[in-house]
């Protein structure tokens, strides 16, 4: 419905120019034109102009004024879809998505078929995962623009995400039939593969396979085609045909472990020899492939294992492969294999030391091995004994090459690691520092050094170490936060926690939490982009990833630290004037206590004075600050101040905020439920406490912390 207050031709033209200026980001011009309309006394309160002015101001960073104008405009013209649309845009730019959806819906009330509003609404709905709303909006878009590809696909995808596969497939099939296919049509191929994906999720395996075979020629992603076909053949019980495809895939990529496993599954070898044959056949065609040499070690045993691992070790040690131990580490679960490996490598060490051969039998038949081979043998043995927990022996073995070849970075990294495992973190830091100084261009070693420093609670030193690689002009901590460097922030949080600096630790945890929120926010642009580029499978994958994003281990670490701190703040709150110290007033004598009280009073006074000063300074700053950089979109987030964070109004509520995603996404970890119990027990919520215990019990009934919770719970029960 049109607005109450239509503009005459001259003003209308100006208004149209305002819109154009907004689209072309010429904000100053837009404001000029708006001023022209508003200076005319008849249209000084014209709703839509005011709204557009507000929108332009918002893009220039003047948020408060923007809101004022938009609200005024809306008040003056409640029936204008433009005003509602603009208000919705404002809310969206501040990430208030729920409010924005309401505004868009209102806008649609007055202009049912406005494409722009419908599109914006659909984006918000999928962002908020309002799938039913998304489906309805997509339907309207389809009705209005049946010629556009995105309308059909968006509509089908809505049903797919709602798991109504039949509808989705009908739509996709209808759409597919209308398409004309070019010779090498990537976008059509992606459409076909997406359609196939929906079929497979619907469980229509036979139809999926037929579909792939029919459209074989049009699908350009041959790898996906082959892999999917093989999976479907397996599911339909045609293992032999599947095996043929997997063997072809192996020829394509002999370094893919999944293919080897699938070949084994589909050919079902009866004994070890047949199993081994798969790998030796691949090796015949690809003699330099590394995976077919490594995988048989997993299932071979005894003498056959010994022969192969001997060969494997010799080649790797001769070449000087640093990650040799890492490659073999998964074998260390089997004590028999550990024994065989130890015997072999100790044998090499002895033989190389005396006459430069891997074993005495080689003398005369093969060439001698060089000194670097002995170095890597010692390196391997150090890692071997470190894994077995024999720190002293490990150190013996690493010290030999350190003495003979003190130029090799890896040696010092390993020595540091051994000390860390042995418990001497400070000595570990010394070694890592040496390692990073030898090659200051190596960011990996630099980061490892910083991590070890944080483990040793040397926070400042770690920051300085990281600063060697972060952007100049910015503090290292700030830059790492900008770059979402979560390993650093989690380690910092843990270090601060150990040091008892609650505020700083909480700040880091909150920063990590914000990164996750940011990553979820960032998917907004992909809704249009992926539709346009037709990368539909990847797009659905993205949506599903974002749904479970907080199951990531970094979030778990940060949340755990935050919850633990909030719980301890609940038990021992930080008082005003106290500097986060674990000062215990009960341990002081009366005179000391008086002194402490005086000190606290003085500190309080000083703090109050500083607050006054700060307020005045802030006022001055505000009047001085220029408007924000217009490119910065999204609301400026509240700064995280450690002093404020460690004095929360309700620490348990904050803890629960961190707990919620863990309960949904990390429910398979018993720690989640232990933490939940701790929070709920302090809130006195008996049923929730019991629920946490039950969930934890289901995961791991032998966990010691859970056991303590159960005892405490039973004691609480006794009281009642």
């Amino acid at each position: 419905m049109p607005t109450n207050n239509p503009l005459p031709p001259k003003e209308n033209a100006l208004f149209k120019r305002i819109l154009k200026c907004y689209e072309q980001k010429q904000y100053k011009n837009g404001l000029k034109f708006a001023k022209q309309i508003l200076s005319n006394p008849k249209y000084a309160e014209h709703g839509e102009t005011l709204a557009m002015k507000g929108l332009t101001l918002n893009c220039m960073g003047r948020k408060e004024e923007a809101y004022e104008f938009v609200r005024r405009g809306l008040r003056n013209d409640l029936k204008s879809h433009v005003c509602w649309h603009v208000y919705g845009l404002l809310q969206r730019s501040d990430r208030k998505y729920d409010e924005a959806i309401k505004c868009y819906r209102n806008a649609l009330k007055w202009d049912k078929d406005n494409l722009q509003i419908l599109r914006d609404l659909s984006l918000l709905q999928i962002q908020m995962r309002d799938l039913e709303g998304y489906r309805d909006t997509r339907y309207q878009l389809l009705v209005l623009r049946p010629g556009q590809r995105a309308s059909w696909i968006g509509y089908a995808m809505a049903y797919h995400l709602l798991k109504e596969y039949e509808m989705a497939l009908n739509i996709l099939e209808e759409f597919r039939k209308t398409q004309t296919v070019k010779p090498y049509d990537y976008e059509h191929s992606e459409l076909l593969l997406y359609q196939n994906m929906v079929m497979r999720e619907a469980g229509l395996d036979k139809e999926s396979l037929e579909f792939l075979e029919t459209h074989d020629q049009q699908i350009v992603d041959k790898l996906a085609l082959q892999e999917t076909k093989a999976v479907l053949l397996s599911k339909l019980g045609q293992d032999q045909k599947a095996a043929v495809i997997y063997k072809e895939l192996l020829m394509r990529n002999p370094e893919n472990a999944a293919y080897f496993k699938l070949v084994e599954d589909t050919t079902n070898p009866e004994n070890v020899e047949e199993r081994l044959k798969i790998y030796t056949d691949t090796l015949e065609k690809f003699p330099r492939a590394s995976l077919p040499k490594r995988l048989p070690l997993n299932f071979l045993t005894g003498e056959a294992f010994r022969k192969r691992v001997d060969q494997y070790l010799r080649i790797a040690l001769h070449k000087g492969v640093p990650p040799l131990f890492i490659n073999l580490r998964s074998l260390y679960r089997d004590p028999e294999k550990v024994r065989i490996i130890e015997e072999l490598v100790l044998g090499y060490e002895e033989s190389l030391g005396t006459n430069e051969y891997f074993s005495p039998e080689d003398e005369g038949k093969l060439e001698k091995e060089s000194a670097s081979v002995l170095l890597w043998t010692h390196y391997y043995l150090a890692q071997h004994f470190d894994q077995l927990g024999q720190t002293k022996r490990a150190l013996e073995f690493i010290n030999k090459p350190v003495e003979s070849t003190p130029t090799l970075v890896e040696l010092f990294v390993l020595k540091g690691r051994i000390y860390k495992h042995g418990g001497d973190i400070h000595e570990a830091v010394v070694n890592l520092d040496e390692a990073q100084s030898l090659d200051t261009a190596d960011r990996f070693v630099n980061s490892k050094c910083a991590k070890y420093m944080l483990r040793a609670n040397m926070v400042k030193e770690a920051e300085d170490m990281c600063a060697k690689f972060t952007r100049e002009g910015v503090s290292a901590v700030e830059n790492l936060n900008e770059m979402q460097c979560m390993w650093f922030q989690c380690e910092c949080a843990a270090a601060y926690q150990r040091l008892g600096k609650w505020g700083d630790a909480l700040k880091k945890s909150h920063e990590v939490d914000r990164h996750f929120s940011e990553i979820i926010e960032d998917q907004f642009d992909f809704h249009t982009y992926c539709m346009r580029k037709m990368t539909l499978r990847a797009y659905v994958g993205l949506l599903r990833l974002e749904d479970v994003l907080r199951n990531h281990k970094f979030y778990f670490r940060a949340a755990k630290i935050a919850i633990q701190i909030y719980i301890s703040l609940h038990d021992h709150p930080v008082l005003d004037g106290e500097q986060d110290e674990k000062a215990n007033a009960e341990n002081l004598t009366p005179s000391e206590f008086k002194k402490l009280r005086n000190k606290q009073r003085k500190a309080l006074k000083k703090a109050a004075q500083e607050k006054e000063k700060q307020k005045e300074q802030d006022k001055k700053d505000q009047s001085k600050t220029k408007p924000q950089d217009p490119d910065v979109d999204g609301p400026k987030e509240e700064e995280l101040l450690p002093e404020k964070l460690c004095r929360p109004a309700s620490p348990l509520d904050q803890a629960i905020r961190f707990l919620r995603p863990l309960q949904t996404l990390a429910a398979s970890k018993v720690e989640t439920h232990v933490l939940a119990y701790e929070i709920y027990s302090r809130k006195g919520k008996l049923l929730l406490m019991l629920q946490s215990i039950k969930r934890g019990y289901r995961v791991d009934k032998n966990d010691p912390h859970l056991h303590i919770c159960m005892i405490k719970f039973l004691q609480t029960g006794k009281i009642y």
């Binding site: 001769h318 070449k319 060439e367 001698k368 060089s370 170095l375 070849t405 100084s437 030898l438 090659d439």
Partner: protein
């Protein structure tokens, strides 16, 4: 199976500490910060030697314009003990000699060795170096303190003189 590959790499501010470590272990003489500062400026005259991708040797030279001559001076050339007799020293020295040859304007190349360092003396003699003189008490803090000057002449001066004589 071959023993291993030897390659020469540049000395950069990033890896200079590896050079320091190497010199500390190989040589009984210690070098000061200025030495390492200068080393970064000489380009191809300073190299690290990699054996199977591990730094095991290095060379530092400079161009010496004393005594009215243009001479190449080898300040340090060494390989870690476990890695000697693999031909690494040869590759290093050949690199330096090649620079002298390409340049064409060097009168000679020379270096100092402790008089008891037979291994080094034999090594350089293989390449045509000779004992030119003996400097007593050349070294300040080690025994024996005397040093030989080993030198290999390139005859560029004689060639120049003879050319001038002809024209």
């Amino acid at each position: 199976m071959t023993r291993g590959t030897t390659e020469l790499g540049d000395v950069t501010p990033h890896n200079i500490k590896q050079l320091k470590r190497l010199n500390q272990v190989v040589f009984p003489v210690s070098y000061n910060d200025k030495f390492y500062k200068d080393v970064l400026e000489v380009g191809e005259l300073a190299k690290l030697a990699y054996f199977n991708d591990i730094v095991v040797g290095a060379v530092c030279c400079r161009i010496d314009t004393s005594e009215n001559q243009r001479r190449m001076y080898i300040m340090t050339l060494g390989v870690l003990a476990p890695y000697r007799r693999y031909g690494i020293g040869t590759i290093i020295l050949e690199h330096v000699l090649k620079i002298c040859e390409k340049d064409g304007n060097f009168d000679n190349i020379h270096l100092h060795v402790q008089i008891n360092n037979d291994g080094a003396i034999k090594f350089y003699e293989k390449f045509g170096f000779e004992i030119a003189e003996k400097k007593a008490n050349y070294y300040k803090r080690i025994e024996p303190a005397d040093a030989y000057v080993l030198q290999k002449t390139f005859r560029s001066k004689e060639v120049k003189e003879s050319k001038e004589a002809q024209s």
